[in-house]
Symmetry: C2
Subunit: 192 residues, 2 copies
DNA sequence: AAGTTTATTGACTCGTCAATCAACAAAAAC
DNA sequence: GTTTTTGTTGATTGACGAGTCAATAAACTT
């Protein structure tokens, strides 16, 4: 029963199912058949649209990264001043879209994927550089030479909070995660 | 050609090979045959001693965690005062044993394993609690009520630095990783 | 020397899974 | 109304990998 114009819907359904499965099962060892089943189609169709399992994963990773990028952009658009923009970036990192349990779980697994799959590594590098340069842009006017180190620290801290969220679900909620990082930011910008 | 008393040597060789393989390949998808080959024996022997692949991984994880614990204990023994002890804990986290590339890579993968394997999760929880209580012990006398948050932050920051080390090998060396975390510690203890 | 325990492996079983293919169905184009 | 394009799947293939087993051998025991 073919409905025309199904391709984009199918692709999106597969990406969504992939993120959910990887996040829920906490592992990249999910089969194409499982993903396809969850997305309501046969595994053959998944292969038809994506060609290979790796491509499905990469598409899912792109989706996660652009979700995050969108949250950052949105938060930045509504922010005022260097201080406000920095706080916006941090808050966006713990936005309701990106900080759901399955999404964080998927993040963690994609980190691991990035160790082996060159394309995944590339994607991750792009977004990390973007974050870094976003931070630097507003950090430099505030603290000059120390900006580099603080940007590094903020990046690592955000990653670390993500890990913990993936590892102890429920143990750290959005708000307290954000507050933790914001306090670090405040201290580094204000302090001395 | 059986040498008697081979068991402990074989076990150790398998654990070492596992950490190397997981760290190098950046994935838990290493076969028992690969590990056994690297350790200089047949896959059948690996199964003979460990029973299952999961048990091999758990043994490797235990080895990593006790290596880390030993470094912390060693550093603590030689430290003076609350401040000194805290610095020792942080430095131990980036000690030469634990912060080698393959070891960090393996860490990251075991984090992922901990999402699915209950025993792995348990192991990790034990060591995280130990770190947390070590930190609290010396943080509380210095900063009182704020100790909890700072301990949380230090833990997350250490994890985050680990991730980055696994993801961008060479991009962050032992020394600068330690300095980054030590600066955070200093600021939180000193400041205000 | 016969028997027992420990070490060791090659060959095999059994399951799983990514990827392919042939076939079928409905809409669009002509 | 026939052809073409798009959507869809069940069945199959082919590879690979965890775990088992039977067999072999050296060392220890009595």
């Amino acid at each position: 029963m073919p409905k025309l114009g199904a391709e984009p819907i199918r692709r999106a359904a597969l990406v969504k199912a992939t993120i959910e499965m990887v996040g829920d099962s906490g592992s990249l060892d999910v089969t194409v058949a499982q993903i396809a089943r969850r997305a309501g189609m046969s595994s053959a169709l998944a292969h038809h649209y994506f060609g290979s399992k790796e491509q499905i994963f990469l598409a899912a990773m792109r989706a996660i990264l652009s979700l995050y990028a969108a949250e950052v952009r949105g938060a930045l658009a509504a922010a005022e001043g260097h201080r406000g923009r920095l706080r916006a970036i941090v808050r966006a990192s713990f936005g309701s879209g990106s900080f759901r349990r399955e999404v964080v779980g998927a993040w963690l697994n994609f980190y691991v994927l990035a160790q082996t799959a060159p394309e995944a590594r590339r994607l991750l590098a792009v977004y990390q550089r973007r974050l870094h340069s976003n931070l630097m842009h507003d950090l430099r006017p505030l603290i000059g030479a120390r900006a580099e180190r603080v940007a590094q620290g903020l990046g690592a801290l955000i990653d670390g909070v993500y890990i913990r969220a993936a590892l102890m679900p429920g143990h750290s909620d959005r708000r307290s995660a954000a507050v933790l990082v914001l306090e670090y930011l405040e201290r580094e910008v204000e302090g001395r």
